[in-house]
Symmetry: D2
Subunit: 135 residues, 4 copies
């Protein structure tokens, strides 16, 4: 199964005075892609929170900045689930410009009960849908 | 009475690929200054909202971008109330680099009842404190 | 001729603790729409700067914030040229959610010679293409 | 020797609709602290780039988001060099609210020759100043 892929363009707002995308903004791009990925899986953010009383929070990010993106670049951001266990969801993300890999990340998400602000098991309907391949 | 003055520095995050501060970010600088100004007047944001059940929302902004600010610049942002009437507060703001005026704005704020999300008269204790000079 | 229209979605990054889009971020949305509009007119940003040695800078913005946009909203941002004269280009922009008008702005742009950082006449090929309707 | 410490306040611009600081914005806070730290060491960003023809780029970030920061919080961001070798500088950073640790990060920086955009040995005058403690 191929990874989910989200396309975006780099605007002035994303760049900095070094002429490249500001490093924190790649994390914005990754979050946009995760939102669209969940929606494509059938779990639009607002409806998901309303139906299950949970949201996702990032608890850890490991990001490798390999090559810079520049103004007007068209980028693809991929999302691939790597592990689902209890309240924890690990996703691998990558930002590409054509064939070049620019940024690679591993994002650890925690499913959080919105009312109590405590970790909550990922709803089964989503966990099953994530289809994490197992060896 | 001299205007309230808030100092800040320009970081990479504030700039864009044109080598200057991205235009929308001056509005961030202005909002930081308004927050510090209210706090200096004795109305820290969180306490003010908790005590009076109101917050301020920007309803109009007129901004003149005169000269660009650059990476590492030290800027001053001023705030001067211009008019207070009912739920409406007009403030004039200016961003300086030393003696140079870089950006000038008129910001119209509406006092909003947080629970009902409707305009609400500016609390008298603040209105009196604003000390708008009258001719 | 109908206005140019650019669609976007509101992500967490665009919102603030008041649960709505942070006011400065509407200016980002407007700039994205202007970039796509110029590209749709046949003037992709990078190529335009390379070919003519000019770029556009915002010199004035008048923005009315009528109603707030919220997380996950799908918005349309329109661009309509209002006046072209010498180095100056005025555009009207509006941000809609369906039939509702949320934000309205008048943006004044200056065409700037990149090498000398001084105002420069808008290249004729673009000025003609802007097709500003005249009464 | 105690770590370098930079104080900041959380404004609306830093938060998101979940009522907390947006995750990517902690990386902005960390970069502000690194800039002030270099300046405090005697290496103001602009002068350093002009004098040595080099700048720093982030090549890897490992961030643990432990607890959320909220609107109006006053935070401290620390910077502590961990390793200096050739073109590479590792720094540990932590974001505190009083005694609470909110975010912890390891940031890997590469010293880059600005003209050639290639890794360059960290200038000796800075490398010596970093005073990385060795066991």
């Amino acid at each position: 199964m191929s990874d989910f892929r989200f396309a975006l363009r780099v605007y002035y707002e994303d760049t900095d005075a070094a002429g490249i995308v500001y490093y924190a903004n790649y994390l914005r791009f990754m979050e946009r892609a995760r939102t669209e990925w969940l929606e494509a899986l059938g779990f639009p953010l607002a409806a998901f929170e309303a139906a299950h009383g949970v949201m996702f929070a990032v608890t850890r990010a490991e990001i490798d900045f390999l090559r810079p993106a520049r103004l007007n670049d068209r980028l693809d951001v991929t999302v691939a689930p790597r592990a689902v266990r209890g309240a924890r969801l690990d996703v691998a993300q990558e930002i590409h410009r054509g064939d070049e890999s620019l940024v690679r990340g591993l994002i650890v998400l925690a499913c959080v009960d919105v009312a109590r602000l405590r970790p909550a098991r990922i709803p089964r309907v989503l966990a099953e849908r994530l289809q994490v391949s197992r060896p």
